[in-house]
Symmetry: C2
DNA sequence: AGAGGTTACGGGCAGCGTAAGGATC
DNA sequence: GATCCTTACGCTGCCCGTAACCTCT
């Protein structure tokens, strides 16, 4: 019997689904079948009832789960206590919203590689709602995204916030400064995708003033920047994202009567036995932003 | 990381000797080296200081030992609780004194095979002192022998007792009956080896009476029986051993003025994580004699 | 020289992924 | 038919034992 089998058993017990368990553990679904049936052979006992739609623990399986949880917890604690961080290996899949990819990500990766050189990182840059979905489906291990992941077994912690600044191309003609809300309504606005917080807020902001609002939205931050630089409209973005464009003069800050609320990013991850590396990396990332804010 | 590595680590921590650990776990010594260095590589930490005569735990090693013990205990409990006895497999080495081999052993083996059909039994019939040595050197797992095994980590429990009966060949001429001690002293006595309990007792019994005692000793029970049947002397043996010889008339019981104390057999085994099968088999054997005495 | 551990090497087996084959709704 | 799991199969890599090689007394 090995720890891996017990971990597989644990996840299958939690998820009730061989395929999902395989994805969680980065292995194929038949591998899960093999591991579980291997465990059942070894113990000479049926652990799951596979007759229904999802795999359900048998009585013996429930008994085993108690032990599996204890052993996995001890194993995790053991690794934290006695293992050298440099030798901890494995693959961690990071889900990152584009804004984070533009700002913290390089430093974060550098820091992770310093602390855990044997860890293999897989990146997945996507929009926040997709990241939340993927996290729940266990296709990624940690997500840096906007919004909470309210789901059993997941933890969400505040990561960082960005205040949004209105920016426009230098060549863009503007009626006055500071820009009034009604003037803003007559200019095309480029922003985050529909259903995102900034998009919704901006729409509600302008709605009372003008009827025909022109809002371009893109899920790609670089596209938003490019379109803004090209003078297709104005946009509200974190200053950190467009620092080089502001410095080179390709973009300029606008004063607008109304501010858009901050963009709040959280870090979300699974809490489960075997996930101690995940938690450690989440802690590392939180420590990174904390030290940078000093 | 697997349970096997932790078990290996545990035993090496206890024994401080790679070779002894290998014997305990039925594997070669280089295998122990490989397992331990594998564990050390995995954790990126030195677990043992090999500079001295025996391997000694490092600080990290001592930390690991705490976890290893807990995990192994849980693993053992897990197997007892959820595993089907029929599927428990492994190799158990039984050390058996000849008297037991003649009496309980067939029933015992039958019973073990019924209860744990997947268990592989290795037999070692030897004299009790050798069995005790082998047990301590972990060359066998359970011993059925005369005398205690007083050693840390071992348990000794009473197994069964035999009252010794004086027997002689039918054709053997005897002066009187019941036989007086002084008459007995003039007849050659065949018995257990020097330093064994019966031998010592018989010698002390006869010493005050006659000077030139003739005591033949053999560590082989069948040889003692054979010599007695051939009329080379009388012997004190458990009745159970010579029941067929008594029934066929090749031997007859003697009444002798002095009785020899009972031959007391114990079962001794290791108490350690991973040894739950050993304990279960010891319990099984005790239950067997208990049920037979009802 | 002898006891104790590591390294080297060849062989066997376990474990993996791909792909095909049931079973159940 | 779609979803989900098992079986079949070839492959890789790990783990074991034998044997030779260090190292320290």
């Amino acid at each position: 019997m090995n720890i891996r089998s017990l971990e597989t058993f644990y996840w299958l017990a939690k998820l009730g689904n061989f395929r999902a368990t395989g994805e969680t553990l980065h292995v194929s679904q038949p591998t899960i079948s093999a591991r579980i049936s291997g465990l059942e052979d070894e113990l000479g006992v049926e652990l799951f009832d596979r007759s229904g739609r999802s795999a359900v623990l048998t009585a013996k399986g429930r008994e085993l789960l108690i032990y599996a949880e204890k052993i996995l917890e001890l194993h995790q604690e053991l690794l934290e206590k006695v293992a050298d961080p440099e030798s901890i290996h494995g693959t961690i899949r990071l889900g990152v919203a584009e804004t984070i990819a533009y700002t913290w990500l390089p430093k974060l990766i550098e820091r992770i590689n310093e602390t855990y050189p044997a860890i293999n990182l897989e990146l997945d840059v996507d929009v926040s709602p997709s990241l939340a979905e993927k996290l729940i489906k266990r296709e990624i291990d940690i997500a840096f995204l906007i919004g909470d992941v309210r789901h059993e077994g997941f933890v969400t912690k505040h990561f960082c916030s960005y205040s949004l600044t209105w920016v426009a191309s230098k060549k863009m003609p503007l009626p006055e400064t500071p820009l009034s809300l009604s003037s803003l309504a007559r200019i095309p606005i480029i922003t985050y995708p529909r259903m995102s917080e900034p998009h919704t807020y901006i729409r509600s902001l302008i709605h009372p003033v003008g009827r025909s609002i022109q809002i371009h939205s893109s899920s790609s931050l670089s596209t938003i920047i490019r379109m803004t630089v090209d003078g297709m409209g104005v946009s509200a973005l974190p200053k950190e994202i467009v620092s080089s464009e502001l410095q080179s003069g390709r973009l300029r800050e606008l004063e607008v009567e109304a501010n858009v609320p901050d963009l709040v990013f959280n870090v979300a991850y699974i809490t489960a036995p075997g996930g101690h590396i995940v938690r450690a990396i989440a802690d590392l990332s939180l420590a990174l932003v904390a030290s940078n804010n000093e």
